[in-house]
């Protein structure tokens, strides 16, 4: 479990407070979506959780260990996939052995399965990879490391359209049962089908922190015509009329979550959800 307790943070050399008093608990065995516009503190939060940044106030506890101490046992259970990554100048075999030394649950089977799913050869020359391919290799290594917590910063940035769907497939098929994945992104559409829990950040504040099930239990997302807008909480015009978000009444069928619409409703209109 990750406990974020009254965290205050501003970057060294900057007076802008990214967080003043952030409190959040992240449960185990979930895929969390950390959503927000650019510059809202998503990556900062991931770095704080990983102990790569120091809080100015409060603390972050991962499985009982304060991350500011950068305890090796805690680091063994956390893996972060940054937005951009440079591969070390090594062969795939060396890359595997470098990670095997540190992560006792590292699985070569998972690695090669992920690479196969990403349509990358296991004998690939790491020096000749494009940015997207590097990301795929690194995500495969991250999943193969078998850590309890996997933090991904904008994982779909730099991936082409087919690769984005491959990404969802790879995560769904290869994540461990006891694994918690936190995906930070502003490209909400890329990840909406895979999330269990959503956290929306805006200017260091939490606008939403709830499960996707809870949202779809209370709200419907559907296309409507201009004359059918009763009970609509938020709408956006589309080619088919309006795409709407409305409170779900008893008897209404459950609809699929439209994360982009929800995100816009929260960040543009500042709608408060009744959950």
């Amino acid at each position: 479990m990750i406990e974020i307790n009254h965290v205050a943070f501003n970057y060294p050399g900057s007076s802008h407070h990214v967080y003043d008093d952030l409190t959040l608990n992240l449960q185990e065995n979930c895929i969390y979506g950390l959503l927000g516009k650019n510059g809202m503190g998503k990556s900062t939060l991931l770095y704080l959780i990983a102990g790569l940044l120091r809080t100015k106030g409060g603390n972050i506890i991962v499985d009982g260990k304060d991350m500011k101490n950068r305890d090796p046992e805690a680091l063994r259970d956390i893996f972060i996939v940054p937005e951009e990554y440079e591969m070390p100048n090594v062969s795939m075999k060396q890359l595997v052995s470098m990670h095997k030394m540190f992560y006792p649950n590292f699985s070569e089977d998972v690695l090669y399965k992920c690479l196969m799913d990403f349509e990358i050869s296991r004998n690939v020359n790491l020096k000749e990879l494009s940015m997207g391919q590097k990301k795929k290799v690194y995500m495969s290594v991250a999943l193969a490391s078998g850590t309890r917590y996997l933090l991904m910063d904008e994982p779909t940035n730099g991936l082409d359209i087919p690769s984005k769907s491959l990404f969802r497939k790879v995560i769904a098929q290869n994540m461990r049962e006891d694994q918690t994945i936190i995906i930070s992104t502003h490209q909400v559409h890329d990840v909406e089908s895979m999330l269990d829990h959503i956290i929306v950040l805006d200017n260091g504040q939490i606008l939403l922190d709830t499960s996707t099930v809870n949202i779809t239990d209370h709200y419907c997302f559907s296309y409507r015509q201009p004359g059918e807008l009763d009970g609509v909480v938020y709408k956006e015009s589309s080619l088919q009329g309006y795409i709407t978000m409305s409170e779900r009444k008893s008897g209404d069928e459950e609809t699929q979550l439209n994360l982009e619409l929800l995100f816009n409703a929260l960040t543009r209109e500042r709608i408060t959800l009744k959950l």
């Binding site: 970057y11 060294p12 050399g13 900057s14 770095y47 990983a50 102990g51 790569l52 940044l53 120091r54 950068r70 305890d71 090796p72 046992e73 680091l75 063994r76 956390i78 893996f79 972060i80 940054p82 951009e84 990554y85 440079e86 070390p88 100048n89 090594v90 060396q94 470098m98 030394m101 540190f102 992560y103």
Partner: protein, 260 residues
């Protein structure tokens, strides 16, 4: 709490070595080509072969001392910092691995560079003209100076060199850990400025003491030597500890010019 596990340390050191391969190769070729150029120049153009050992010693010493500035050399970019800081090892293990790299690693690099440059110049000179070919290393070993041996109650040249090396190296380690950009250059400038200021102050105080009728003596006894050694030892340890603490406080994103 001191957290040091020898198995993890070995892994961290191995990881660090693999990741620093490119930098080490660049440094090696830097040393090799510089020394090779000077050896060739003085053997063929300059004519005075005695300059080479002196020049090699000076350049090697400078290299060894300022290599302390690379104590966090494998954490220069944001991605490098993420990779190294996320390694499941304690800060002490990571610091020790980097320390080995900037001490033993630098010494080995320098030694291999000197040998490679010497062998290369010897082979090339032999190929060009057998009469001027000789190995500078063999010559230097043949005429080695016994003053470098530490003995008796006097502070010998070897002892002084060792102390100065570790002291300078530890200062560069603090500078390297503390200063984010151009650490070696800034550290050199700071050391130069501080040394100049302290020298001026020392001369001024000495002059004032003489003006008041005091005599200034420099005692050269076993006790003063031991106290001097001890003083330097404490300062060196303090500098190492300082650079370790600074390394532990490095953050992945920092807009300041120092790592605090």
């Amino acid at each position: 709490m001191i957290d040091f596990n020898i198995h993890r340390f070995r892994n961290v050191a191995e990881w660090s070595l693999i990741n620093s391969k490119g930098t080490l190769i660049k440094k090696f070729f830097g040393i090799y080509f510089t020394l090779f150029f000077f050896m060739m120049f003085f053997s063929r153009v300059g004519g005075d072969g005695d300059v080479v050992p002196v020049l090699t010693t000076v350049m090697g010493s400078v290299f060894l001392v300022i290599s302390g500035g690379a104590i966090v050399g494998n954490m220069k970019t944001k991605q490098q910092r993420i990779s190294y800081m996320m390694l499941p090892g304690s800060t002490l293990e990571k610091f020790a691995a980097n320390y080995l790299m900037v001490t033993v690693g630098s010494i080995l690099l320098l030694a291999v560079g000197i040998v490679a440059a010497d062998v290369s110049q010897w082979l090339l000179n032999s190929a060009i003209d057998r009469t001027v070919s000789n190995s500078y290393i063999i010559d230097a070993l043949w005429h080695s100076n016994s003053n470098l041996v530490i003995k008796g109650d006097r502070m010998t040249l070897g002892e002084a060199i060792l102390i100065l090396y570790f002291w300078g190296h530890s200062l560069y380690m603090v500078g390297g850990a503390l200063i984010r950009k151009h650490a070696c250059l800034v550290t050199t400038a700071i050391i130069f400025a501080v040394t100049t200021c302290l020298s001026i102050v020392a001369v001024w105080i000495g002059g004032k003491l003489c003006d008041y009728g005091y005599a200034v003596y420099f005692y050269d006894s076993a006790l003063t030597n031991i106290l001097t050694d001890l003083g330097f030892f404490v300062v060196i340890l303090f500098n190492y500890y300082l650079s370790y603490r600074i390394m532990g406080r490095i953050q992945v994103i920092n807009n300041k010019w120092i790592n605090l």
